[in-house]
């Protein structure tokens, strides 16, 4: 699973970066855990302050995009501050071994859990040895 830092929504390469109509926002890339089971890859991402409606998980051209808008629970200026919430953004490139039609996502307590099932071809198979 390779990580992409620059969005490439189309296959062609553009030498200079395209400019957006909106000014560039500040993003933080959320820390993730990724582990593998025989049937799937599981991705866990910390997205504190992101409500389910403000989370966008997209899969396009083998690129998985996680984008979330984090909000403080209180809009008032804090009197003491150790952190601030900015928007989350991170992209991953999926290999062909992932069955992209069956990806499922779940957001609970600020943690996104993504299940990325492997294709039938990529799953391990046990072959019983016939003893004649």
């Amino acid at each position: 699973m390779a990580e992409k830092t620059v969005a490439t929504t189309s296959g062609r390469q553009v030498a200079s970066e395209r400019e957006r109509t909106r000014t560039q926002e500040r993003y933080v890339s959320p820390p993730v855990d990724i582990y593998e089971t025989p049937n799937e890859l599981v991705l866990l991402a910390d997205l504190p302050g992101v409500a389910p409606d403000d989370l966008e998980v997209r899969l396009e051209d083998d690129i998985l995009t996680i984008r979330g808008q984090a909000k403080h629970l209180r809009t008032q200026e804090p009197v003491y501050q150790e952190y601030e919430l900015v928007n989350f953004f991170r992209q991953f490139e999926l290999s062909e071994q992932i069955d992209q039609g069956k990806v499922s996502a779940d957001l609970k307590h600020g943690v996104l859990t993504l299940h990325l099932p492997k294709t039938e071809k990529a799953k391990p198979r046990q072959i019983t040895v016939q003893v004649s």
Binding site: M1, V28, P30, P31, V32, D33, I34, Y35, E36, T37, L41, L44, A45, D46, L47, P48, G49, V50, A51, H72, L73, R74, Q76, E77, P78, V79, Y80, Q81, E82, Y83, E84, L85, V86, H109, G110, V111
Partner: protein, 153 residues
């Protein structure tokens, strides 16, 4: 009395003026280099907290995604609040060589935060929402500001 023109004093005055201008700009800039976001694996203090205050109440917002709500424990003594709990990482069933990335901090934690006022322990409320722990801590009667009317003789 007319002062003699002194280029060094002029330059010093200019330098001070520039300093002052930059100080003002600095105040208005968004705090880019504030400890910004998620504590990584080497975080010294967990969870990070923000403190809000109004006349009667102190509010604590803690950055704590993925906690097991059953393990979460909040206790208040006078003017300090202690938050403890456990954050689950990759399940033990996953074999070490099947882990591709492990960036999220995990484990047990305890943190005590000192508050700007004494708290009424009986009225504390805690809420865990979208990975943020939010505590509403009403100030004790003794800590509330009192209005004193001025007698005009």
């Amino acid at each position: 009395m007319a002062q003699q023109w002194d280029p060094w004093r002029e330059m010093e005055a200019l330098r001070r003026e520039i300093d002052r201008a930059f100080e003002q700009v600095g105040l208005r800039l968004p705090p880019l280099f504030r400890t910004a976001f998620l504590p990584g694996r080497a975080a010294r203090e967990y969870p990070l907290v923000n403190l809000y205050e109004d006349k009667d109440t102190v509010y604590v917002e803690a950055l704590a995604p993925g906690l097991d709500p059953a393990s979460l424990n909040v206790s208040v003594v006078r003017n300090s609040v202690t938050i403890s709990g456990e954050k689950k990482g990759i399940p033990d069933s996953a074999k070490p060589d099947s882990v591709h990335r492990e960036e999220r901090a995990a484990g047990r934690f305890t943190r005590t935060v000192e508050l700007p006022a004494e708290i009424d322990e009986n009225k504390v409320q805690a809420e865990y929402k979208h990975g943020l722990l939010f505590l509403t801590l009403p100030k004790a009667e003794a800590a509330k500001p009192k209005q004193i009317t001025v007698q005009v003789a």
